[in-house]
């Protein structure tokens, strides 16, 4: 398994699909937020602006018409002053018949009303208003100071009892004033509100509300100068702003009427405007959800298909792994999955074919191994036969070696006995001669004292020589006998090691005597072994003969030292050491092998040390090791059990 964190296909597909689905929606949302919604807002602003401007112009036109009406009247009256004579009642008629004015009156230069025209139903109240002093009112003061015809601010008319605006123009020494009730304006904006679903508000120059779809509010002279929209518009800006009025959240635009400096606000319910925005938001949210859900569904469907494909492929691979190569390929509409499945089938078949080949090869191999094994077995048998032959040959050789050893022993014995026996013969023949001489002399009586004494001395000396040589021969025979007995009987018995050495060395005496090599022994006298003395004799003989034969060059005056010591209560160690030329390591590793000899053809059989090894290990149950180095002599170390 890989250590990297891995995710299920479903999760990966879902998240990637979601990202793909979400990014365009987010982009659209951003575009809407920064382009579409400002555009919607701007179009609201434009339509509101257009509406407020159209209302402005309607109102302006209305007032302009009223003003020009009054101007016409004034110019008539200028030409024919009698027209304004109270008794003619022309002002009443005019006021009653025209569309605009609720009252038209003349003032003198002090601001006293001198004549007033009222609509017919209010004419009985004329005396209430005649002679009123309007000089303190704002409208009058405005015209009086400028001398120009002008529209007044909104005021609560004493004459009509209504909120009114007056057109005031200088006339002769005083002024001609036409009052227009603004009650028509609320009706106008009410109609607009119904037609356009907008709230239109008209403010006078002091920014008091004079027209609102709710007629009641139109009469309350509510001062709206603190509204941001009003302030900003008065500052010369044209913009759309939200505001709250009469518990309503509105968004509006305002425009100012020239000349009379009124303001028209065209506003829409904020929630309605926002409804459009929220429709956009709703669409976006819906798009996001649809995107997410369809991405999710699509991802799930695709994931299901992929997972089915992959799972089948995995199962297919697993059955191939478990040896079932015949799994049917799945059918997928995804070309790559189909390809994968088909390839798995191909893979299975390929593996199957290769497996067959391997099985074939395997059985071939087994057959070949059997053949080889048979060959080997045969050669093994041959070898065994050869080995047996060799062993037989070896035994024969050993036998012949033994015979040869016996031969040389006999030769040695003969040689050894030859001297004392020869000496004895020569002495006895000398004595015999002396006896004959004496006998002759005695017989001849020529025996003299001196010759007798001489004879006695000769006999005495001859007896001594005889005795000594016979003693020597006897000793030799005893030794030979002992060796022979030990070698042949191969009996286990107790013996003193030092004495045994001494006896064996005696038998070797003839050989040693001819040799410049000396033997030193240092055997602990207290060592008693319960073992096979015959085998040991042969070992000693072989080792010393071996040393004499191989360790030294002919001219050497070497030394062989034999030491024996107790190792512990169980074992003794016997060391044969020479100061000869030693041997190489290769040679050391082979000296105990049978038929190994450096003197082949010079009398060596190659079996001496092999016999030693056999005797030490097989008969005496001990060990023998060699320690040597070229030019530094050789040590043969025997560790033997004291008792077997």
């Amino acid at each position: 398994m890989t250590t990297n964190k891995n995710w299920p296909l479903r999760t990966i597909l879902s998240s990637q699909f979601l990202i793909v689905a979400t990014i365009p929606v987010i982009l659209v949302a951003l575009l809407s937020l920064y382009l579409l919604i400002p555009k919607i807002n701007h179009s609201h602003y434009l339509s509101q602006k257009a509406l407020s401007e159209s209302i402005s112009s309607q109102v302006t036109t209305y007032l302009d018409n009223a003003a020009s009406d009054l101007n016409v009247l004034a110019s008539f009256a200028m030409q024919e002053r009698k027209l304004f004579d109270q008794n003619l009642g022309l002002l009443d008629i005019y006021t009653t018949n025209q569309a605009y004015f609720s009252a038209i009156y003349l003032t003198d230069l002090n601001g006293i009303i001198t004549n007033i025209g009222l609509p017919s139903h209010r004419q009985y109240l004329r005396s209430n208003f005649l002679s009123l002093d309007v000089s303190n009112t704002n409208i009058y003061m405005q015209v009086a100071s400028s001398g120009q015809a002008a529209w007044s601010d909104i005021f609560l008319s004493t004459v009509s009892g209504r909120l009114s605006v007056a057109y005031v123009q200088p006339f002769l020494d005083g002024t001609l004033v036409g009052e227009i009730s603004v009650e028509e304006l609320p009706k106008l904006v009410q109609n607009l509100a119904e037609q356009h679903q907008v709230t239109v508000m008209i403010l006078d120059s002091q920014r008091q509300l004079i027209a609102h779809p709710d007629a009641e509010l139109s009469h309350q002279q509510i001062n709206l100068s603190t509204l941001d929209l009003v302030k900003q518009t008065d500052n010369g800006q044209s913009l759309s702003l939200p505001f709250t009025f009469n518990h309503e959240q509105l968004i509006g635009t305002a425009s100012i009427m020239p000349d009379i400096n009124w303001m028209v606000i065209s506003a829409q319910n904020k929630s309605e405007v926002e409804a459009e925005q929220s429709a956009v938001y709703d669409i976006l949210v819906a798009a996001i959800f649809i995107g997410i859900i369809s991405a999710g569904l699509l991802a799930m469907l695709l994931a299901r298909e992929f997972i089915a494909g992959f799972t089948h492929a995995a199962l297919q691979a697993r059955s191939i792994a478990s040896g079932d190569y015949q799994a049917a390929p799945t059918q997928s509409r995804i070309r790559e999955l189909q390809w994968l499945a088909d390839n798995l089938v191909t893979t299975g078949q390929a593996i199957e074919n290769r497996e067959h080949e391997i099985i074939q090869l395997n059985s071939d191999l087994e057959r070949r191994v059997e053949e080889r094994t048979e060959d080997l077995r045969m050669s093994h048998a041959e070898l065994e036969l050869t080995l047996n032959n060799l062993k037989q040959a070896q035994e024969q050789l050993i036998q012949s070696e033994k015979l040869s050893a016996l031969g040389s022993l006999v030769a040695g014995v003969s040689h050894e006995l030859n001297t004392p026996i020869g000496n004895s013969l020569m002495t006895s023949s000398t004595l015999t001669e002396s006896v004959r001489t004496i006998v002759k002399q005695s017989a001849s009586n020529q025996l003299t004292k001196s010759s007798f004494d001489n004879f006695i001395s000769e006999v005495e000396q001859g007896s001594h020589i005889l005795e000594r040589n016979l003693q020597r021969a006897s000793e030799l025979i005893h030794s030979f006998k002992q060796v022979a007995v030990d070698q042949s009987s191969a009996k286990k018995r107790g013996f003193n090691l030092e004495q045994h050495f001494s006896e064996v060395l005696t038998t070797l005496h003839p050989v040693l005597k001819k040799s410049p090599i000396k033997i030193d022994t240092a055997i602990a006298s207290s060592l008693f072994l319960n073992s096979y003395p015959g085998a040991l004799s042969q070992i000693i003989t072989n080792l010393i003969q071996n040393a004499l034969l191989h360790a030294f060059d002919t001219s050497d005056h070497g030394l062989i030292t034999v030491t024996a010591n107790e190792i512990d209560s169980e074992q003794v160690r016997i060391i044969f050491e020479d100061n000869g030329k030693g041997m190489s390591k290769e040679m050391q590793s082979s000296i105990f092998d049978p038929f190994f000899t450096t003197k082949l053809g010079q009398g060596g059989s190659g079996l001496g040390l092999h016999i030693v090894h056999n005797l030490v290990t097989n008969v005496l149950k001990g060990t023998i090791t060699v320690d040597s180095d070229q030019g530094k002599g050789t040590r043969m170390i025997l560790d033997l059990p004291i008792s077997i």
């Binding site: 998240s15 209010r122 009123l132 009469h219 509510i222 603190t226």
Partner: protein, 379 residues
């Protein structure tokens, strides 16, 4: 397993989306419940100057408080009602305000409206702080009605005493009274009469009318002037008073004219012109005051409404501030009335306003005479 993982991821998304939505929702919901205050007054019609001026004073006080962050962090929401000086309409509007569960009502502006609605607010135990209602009929009653000024009887008496002192020849008087607001006007005339009628001074006739736009003021005045009085006493609003005074002056330019405080607004001078010169008007306020609190108020009011504040604006401003003080200090079990009575003394625009145990203020009277288009304080 995989499905559960998807499920988890989805749940996490839904959860975070939900959190976002709910946090936005909560944020919009944490705005505090507003304090609701109703205003009632005659805001339309030919004599709406009293009501609109009072409304402007109220509006200024509320706007100032909201600009300071409202009442203890709660914004103040206002509901305006226009009684059009019609008692039945006023009663319906008070019902509306009570249904809206307003914390207090500022207004009404006239005694007639107060008399029409006082029972409703007493039953509902909703505090009504009137601005300029000075009828004696509501004096010293332990109820939910309060006002920052004292009743008009003392004012009328002071006026009478003053006339007797400064116009010794004015012994035969005629009274013209708008009985549309008789709770005020008759009280006032009564108070005037009590102080006036001695030492051969008498009110020989009292003429009454009901103020409408169709009232033939000229005729009423002409009838009153037939007995050629030395003094004409008017108890009516400013607009009616100007029409009446014009007619009186045309009949007799020399006659002494005194009007009740009700007419003492700027409109009297505006519409009266030359005819209102030398008319005596008792005033609740001293327009020549140099008190800092008054000058500040005057300047703010002027800036806001491009006009000078009269007594209706000033009293409504003060009345509103008293109520706001009470609301800001009220704690749960206490009623607004209790807290106002326990505070007792309030900072007024023209000096401290002290409420007695019945919730009536003690206001002073300044006798003025109109000279050159101005109220000039005589005493």
């Amino acid at each position: 397993m995989m499905l559960r993982e998807i499920d988890k991821t989805f749940k996490r998304w839904v959860l975070s989306l939900g959190l976002l939505v709910s946090s936005v929702f909560l944020a919009s919901c944490t705005e505090k419940e507003p304090v609701k205050i109703g205003f009632i007054g005659g805001l339309s019609g030919r004599v709406a100057d009293l009501g609109t001026a009072g409304r402007n004073g109220f509006m200024l006080a509320i706007e100032e408080q909201n600009a300071k962050g409202g009442l203890n962090g709660r914004p103040i929401e206002v509901i305006y009602k226009d009684d059009q000086q019609q008692p039945q309409r006023a009663q319906a509007l008070i019902d509306d305000l009570l249904k809206e569960n307003v914390d207090a009502i500022i207004g009404p502006m006239t005694s007639a409206m107060a008399m029409a609605t006082v029972d409703q607010i007493n039953i509902a135990k909703t505090l009504m702080m009137a601005c300029t209602v000075s009828t004696h009929q509501l004096t010293d009653i332990d109820d939910s009605f309060m006002r920052p000024l004292s009743d008009n009887k003392s004012h009328a008496a002071k006026m009478a005493t003053f006339i007797k002192q400064y116009e010794p020849l004015a012994k035969q008087a005629v009274a013209i009274v708008d009985i549309g607001n008789k709770a005020y006007t008759l009280d006032w005339i009564d108070g005037f009469k009590q102080a006036y009628e001695s030492d051969n001074h008498s009110i020989r006739a009292t003429h009454t009318f009901i103020s409408t736009e169709d009232t033939p003021f000229a005729r009423v005045a002409s009838v009153a002037m037939k007995i050629d009085p030395d003094l004409v006493v008017l108890a009516m609003n400013a607009v009616d008073a100007t029409l009446m005074i014009k007619q009186i002056r045309l009949a007799n330019p020399e006659v002494v004219i005194a009007v009740a405080e009700w007419a003492g607004t700027e409109r009297l001078i505006q519409l009266g012109g030359q005819y209102v010169e030398n008319v005596y008007v008792p005033q609740y306020i001293d327009r020549s005051s140099t008190k800092k609190s008054y000058l500040t108020f005057k300047q703010r009011f002027n800036k806001r409404f491009q006009s000078a504040p009269g007594f209706p604006a000033l009293f409504c401003y003060d009345a509103t501030r008293i109520v706001l003080t009470g609301l800001s200090r009220r704690e749960a079990p206490q009623s607004l009335k209790e807290i106002l009575l326990s505070i007792g003394s309030f900072e007024g625009t023209q000096g401290p306003i002290r409420l007695n145990k019945y919730g009536d203020g003690q206001s002073s009277t300044f006798i003025t005479r109109i000279q050159n288009g101005r109220f000039v304080v005589m005493e």
